[in-house]
């Protein structure tokens, strides 16, 4: 069974984002799917309470953008106390602020020898490599992730084993993934595979470096548009019509 997941934590995004994402999925997915929202404040039948046991590692003075909570959803089989309600075998995670242009069925039919994550093709590979040790310019983006049940449990195990170091060292979950679960020197050789060029682009950053870098441009021939943690989808008239 196919399952679409999102995460809503805190007040950055209100409930309408979840509803709009759910509506988008219903309007753009031609195969049956479950829908769940992992949240700290469950109010709807599709809501599932997020665990909090990593919160003790959050370092307030570091001002890191802390999206690590989405990794709880990888632990469906790891511990029966964690997220036991979530059904399904094929999982697709979507950030709350994405815009879906095309049928999500595509993602559920991908060959799953490896899990997928967004490869930000708009990144300059040279900048990515030269900033690797500085924990900047990550080429991957966890706004969309596709995996089969059990495929990402190893990430949760690794985080649990190294929680202090990971949460201290890496300013974002994407940066952590880039260091330990991707290989920007050998992109076919990493744990994650990047979604191919032409699938996912960024509203703010462009599409493919260097040939298609126009920003704030709708590309409806692509499957998903990312907004990178902005609430701008609510403010731009051109985008509202796509929700």
């Amino acid at each position: 069974m196919n399952t679409i997941l999102c995460v809503k934590w805190g007040d950055k995004y209100d409930r309408t984002y979840v509803e709009q994402l759910k509506n988008q999925c219903e309007n753009n997915c031609s195969v049956p799917f479950n829908f769940y929202c992992l949240t700290d404040k469950p109010t709807q039948p599709y809501d599932v309470l997020l665990p909090t046991y990593w919160d003790k590692y959050y370092l307030e003075d570091r001002d890191f953008f802390w999206a690590y909570r989405k990794c709880y959803m990888f632990a469906l089989n790891e511990d029966p106390q964690i997220l036991p309600r979530i059904k399904g075998d094929k999982f697709l995670f979507l950030d709350l602020d994405v815009i879906i242009h095309q049928d999500l069925k595509y993602f559920f039919e991908l060959p799953m020898d490896k899990p997928y994550i967004v490869r930000g093709w708009w990144n300059d590979t040279i900048t990515v490599k030269s900033n690797f040790a500085k924990h900047k310019s990550t080429p991957i983006n966890s706004s969309v992730i596709r995996w089969d049940r059990g495929q990402l449990e190893t990430i949760v195990k690794k985080i649990n084993k190294n929680a202090e170091v990971i949460f201290f060292t890496y300013p974002s979950v994407d940066n952590y993934f880039n260091h330990h679960w991707y290989n920007c020197w050998n992109e076919e050789g990493g744990f994650f595979k990047g979604f191919p060029k032409g699938d996912i682009y960024s509203w703010y950053k462009g599409n493919i470096f260097p040939e298609d870098m126009e920003k704030r441009k709708i590309r409806e021939d692509h499957k998903i548009c990312l907004f990178n943690n902005s609430a701008e989808t609510n403010d731009v008239e051109e985008l509202k019509s796509l929700w």
Partner: protein, 222 residues
Amino acid sequence: MVKIVSEGQNVNLQFTPELANDWKNAMLASSELNAGNYHYMTRRVLDSMNASQLVSKLWLVEELVKLDIKPKRVAILAGWFAQYIVPLLYDNFESIEWIKNFEIDQDVKEISYKFNKRYKDSNKYQCSIKDIMMKSLEEDFDIIINCACEHMYPMTKFYEWNPELQDPLYVLQSSDDDQYDDHINCVKDEFHLAEQANIVDIKYKGSKKLPNGMTRFMVIGK
């Protein structure tokens, strides 16, 4: 052989034809790693060779010499290209048999091997890609050098990963300069560095103002 001698100190870097050849080839290799007109690796190599980098490594070796340390197997944590520290150690300590540099940046490895080809070819130097805060070294060393403590989690985690190490001597350097994003673990002074790294048997501790204006702290001990 030309000896580059540290001012007033009993430490030298021997500028030999072999070193000149290796360094020339390393610079050439770094200049070939480019994108368009942007020689991204050359910039990084030049940063790694500035006066402050040399001064901090000379200081380290000077203090080890004064302590009459006889190192045999040396681990360098996050040693970057290691073009200064490796020859400085071999030139000043006849006892050294093996130096291994643990890095996370895969671009570093190839250039580091160019700089230190003479040692690599004689099985005296290796560069390993490993996150030393999440994995064990898996071999024994009698000296652990970390000149990049400000870039990583406190050394206590390293000890947890390496309980099998046989009472090594630690040589640690760090900084109070927190203006850089990747300086994630700055310390106030050398006392703070020793306390954070749980160095209780302190053989040396001190600070030094580098040519770039940055103050570096160093602690040597167990």
